[in-house]
């Protein structure tokens, strides 16, 4: 029970010393409330990604071999596959609709592509 927040904290600390940079693509000319929504979805998606996805799909980690690290087209294919709840992906099968959308939006919006696997 207590281990989880510690791992998360370690993640956050290890990212602290990096320079603060714009992490995602802002929609051009979007009104502030839309911007807020983007930021919120991105932030939530990133948190879920780090907690549940990064171990295998390396963006913040080295990931595992033979696991995709998501180019744009992969995200697209992935979204279709996952909407179908089709594969044996245990985490995504369980995720709520909201959580799934956060993660996908995070992957779609992130810019520049963060540390990409190897």
């Amino acid at each position: 029970m207590r281990v989880f927040p510690i791992i998360l904290a370690a993640f956050l600390v290890s990212n602290c010393h990096q320079p603060k940079k714009l992490e995602f693509e802002k929609p051009v000319g979007a009104p502030p409330e839309v911007m807020k929504l983007y930021e919120e979805q991105f932030r939530k998606g990133k948190a879920l990604y780090k907690a549940y996805c990064a171990e295998c799909h390396g963006i913040y980690t080295d990931g595992k071999q033979d696991m995709p690290n998501f180019t744009d087209s992969q995200i697209h294919v992935y979204s279709v596959q996952v909407l179908s709840r089709s594969d044996k992906h245990e985490i995504l099968k369980k995720m709520s609709t909201e959580q799934f959308n956060y993660v996908l939006n995070f992957l779609r919006l992130r810019n520049p592509p963060l540390k990409n696997g190897k």
């Binding site: 907690a51 609709t97 909201e98």
Partner: protein
């Protein structure tokens, strides 16, 4: 001499001689051949219409006969067409001139408009007063264009993967239990059972061809035997839809075939990889199981939590919050105010509940919370995509609970809630702290559990119980003469039809008053999706527990099941003389006798689930704010 005998003879010859020249047609070629036959039949029909004079009865009769024979070819290819591309299928055999609801991605796409086409619409159009030739041609041509798309690579590539066969067969069996026997897709009632007979014969051939071409994954002999018996059962029935024994057909044949198909899926390691059936649970053995498909994640923000101890904490939290008026702006209203557990999670004492200010009434009746997890779109107008979203919205709604900005703060002022919620919030990395999402999700997890129970009708279908003759007669009426089954699809008996990815919305012409002075002013689905076809449309609700959840309709207008059945029997709003421009319910009388009404009611009663209701909690957590400590369990609504 029928096709099956010929085929069996050919198969025997092929295996005995083992020579190439007598080999049966490959399964893939058989598919192509079936599409070609439908293509040819529709092309002939088009030529016939071109050369016809629609003002002459003989011409119209000729076209009608052409439509009937094309429909048989269509039924023979239905198994593939419907599974491969449900959107194109609606142009081959659409039922509405304009289709709005999305067939497959309801949760993820905005509804988009599709003009219907195909044989059902052509048949209906031909029945109108003065059909125009070009319009009739357009409807048939639309169907033909769609049929030709089934030769595209996208469909042929599905054909080359064996999985499609067992997954498509699952859909076929579900449709056999819900659609093929009701006239939902056949405007001519007299043709429903003859078409079904033809379809059963065609499917036997499909099975034989598949097995011959794929000896490593044969259709099991038990399946073939049972399916043969099912085909004989259908063949032995008269052609009249009203005489068909739906109950026996589904209980003794369709549902056991569904279980055998599941067994084959397991044996051959087949899992759905398609968006068209993404909600179906691959491991389910019965159509009448609550595990057939998933509509909602009742765990909401806790969806990724599996640990039983944590889940039971969430459940206990949700139970207390469900009864706690601390969620409302005046500390008097809780979820349980309008969703009373002993009243099957609705309020059977009022048409519609009071608004927050207690003077005005809400415009819609509080729905039962039972079985809401089996809807994809929540609320009667389908406004919300998830229960999580709905829970937050009702808490904030100024005329419902009016929880205001301080809901989370008020809940967190109770140390008991605070410690649990803080622990739980650590499990949701996407949120920085405790949010309304945690509160709404624990509540939906709590009440969602009450939707897992079966009714006597389910038990009868699963052969773990029996129902009386009046229930069986009632179900047969439901699926046949009374035409209920064309909108309320098993197993939920709601508008969610196979493959259970979207809901239907219907316009019934529900009156504002029981004297039928005017139509209910509620625009329904139009409020969410403002197009003409959706004016006054409402999501078709489940009929489970219907006996216990009066009053009925979105506005609670009808107090008894008898009054609702009378409304339908007379053809809805239009049948009662109201002007409803877009009513989707047929306006003519069903001519139900009082005995038939009695049987229908008996069937509906058999849908009442055996739910172990429980008493409310005896007390609520204390708050640090003394002013909040006078609140009563369940509120004082």
């Amino acid at each position: 001499m029928n096709a099956r005998h010929i085929l069996v003879t050919i198969l025997l010859c092929g295996s005995v001689l083992g020579t190439a020249f007598l080999e049966p047609e490959r399964y893939e070629d058989f598919y192509g051949h079936s599409i070609d036959e439908l293509d040819g039949s529709l092309s002939t029909l088009l030529q016939k219409i071109h050369g016809s004079d629609l003002s002459r009865q003989a011409s119209r009769d000729g076209i009608r006969a052409g439509i009937a024979s094309s429909r048989l070819k269509m039924k023979a290819a239905d198994f593939w067409m419907r599974y491969f591309d449900p959107v194109q299928y609606l142009r081959v055999n659409g039922q509405l001139p304009v289709e709005w609801e999305t067939e497959v991605f309801e949760k993820f796409e905005k509804p988009y408009r599709r003009d219907g086409a195909g044989l059902s619409l052509a048949y209906q159009y031909l029945e109108t007063d003065s059909p125009a030739k070009d319009s009739l041609l357009r409807l048939v041509q639309g169907g033909l264009d769609a049929v030709r798309s089934y030769r595209a690579d996208s469909n042929l590539s599905q054909l080359s993967n064996h999985d499609h066969f067992f997954l498509g067969n699952r859909l076929f069996l579900l449709n056999l239990a819900t659609i093929y026997t009701t006239g939902f897709e056949c405007p001519n009632d007299a043709a429903v059972i003859p078409e079904l007979k033809h379809m059963m014969r065609s499917m036997e051939e499909v099975y034989l061809r598949f097995t011959a071409s794929n000896p490593s994954m044969p259709v099991l002999p038990e399946y073939m035997t049972l399916f043969g018996a099912a085909a004989r059962f259908v063949a032995g029935k008269p052609d009249a839809l009203s005489a068909f024994d739906h109950f026996t057909f589904i209980r003794d044949f369709v549902n056991p075939l569904f279980a055998l198909n599941r067994r084959m899926m397991t044996m051959y390691g087949i899992r759905s990889a398609r968006f068209v059936d993404f909600t179906l649970v691959d491991s389910t053995n019965s159509i009448f199981s609550k595990a057939l498909y998933q509509g909602q994640h009742t765990k909401g923000i806790f969806s990724l939590v599996d640990d039983p101890a944590t889940l039971s904490r969430i459940h206990a939290l949700g139970r207390r919050l469900f009864y706690d008026p601390i969620l409302s702006g005046n500390g008097k209203r809780s979820c349980a105010s309008c969703h009373v557990q002993s009243m099957y999670f609705t309020d059977t004492t009022v048409s519609t509940a009071r608004q927050f200010d207690s003077t005005m009434r809400l415009s819609r009746s509080a729905p039962s919370l039972l079985n809401v997890p089996f809807h994809h779109l929540i609320m009667q107008d389908g406004k919300h995509l998830t229960l999580q979203e709905q829970g937050k919205a009702v808490t904030r709604n100024p005329i419902e609970m009016n929880g205001g900005e301080g809901v989370v703060e008020r809940v967190m002022s109770c140390p008991d809630y605070r410690s649990v919620l803080q622990d739980l919030a650590r499990l949701t990395p996407e949120e920085d702290g405790v949010t309304l999402d945690h509160i709404a999700s624990s509540i939906s997890y709590y009440y969602g559990g009450f939707s897992n129970y079966a009714s006597p009708f389910d038990d009868a279908m699963n052969r773990t119980g029996e129902v009386g003759m009046e229930v069986k007669r009632g179900f047969n009426l439901f699926m046949g003469k009374a035409r209920c089954g064309t909108c309320h699809f098993a197993p939920q008996f709601s508008g969610v039809k196979p493959p259970y990815v979207s809901s239907e919305f219907e316009v019934l012409g529900v009156p504002a008053d029981t004297f039928y002075k005017s139509l209910s002013p509620d625009s329904g689905r139009f409020l969410v999706h403002p197009v003409a076809e959706m004016m006054n449309a409402f999501r078709t609700p489940t009929l489970r527990n219907i006996e216990r959840t009066p009053p009925y309709m979105h506005n609670g207008r009808f107090p008894t099941l008898g009054s609702v059945l009378a409304f339908y029997d007379a053809g809805g709003g239009v049948g009662h003389g109201l002007h409803v421009r877009n009513q989707t319910l047929e306006a003519d009388s069903l001519h139900l006798s009082s005995g038939e009404i009695g049987d229908l009611t008996a069937f509906l009663r058999a849908l009442t689930e055996k739910i172990p209701f429980e008493a409310p909690p005896t007390d609520l957590p204390r708050s640090r704010h003394a002013a909040l400590n006078g609140r009563k369990v369940g509120g004082e609504y």
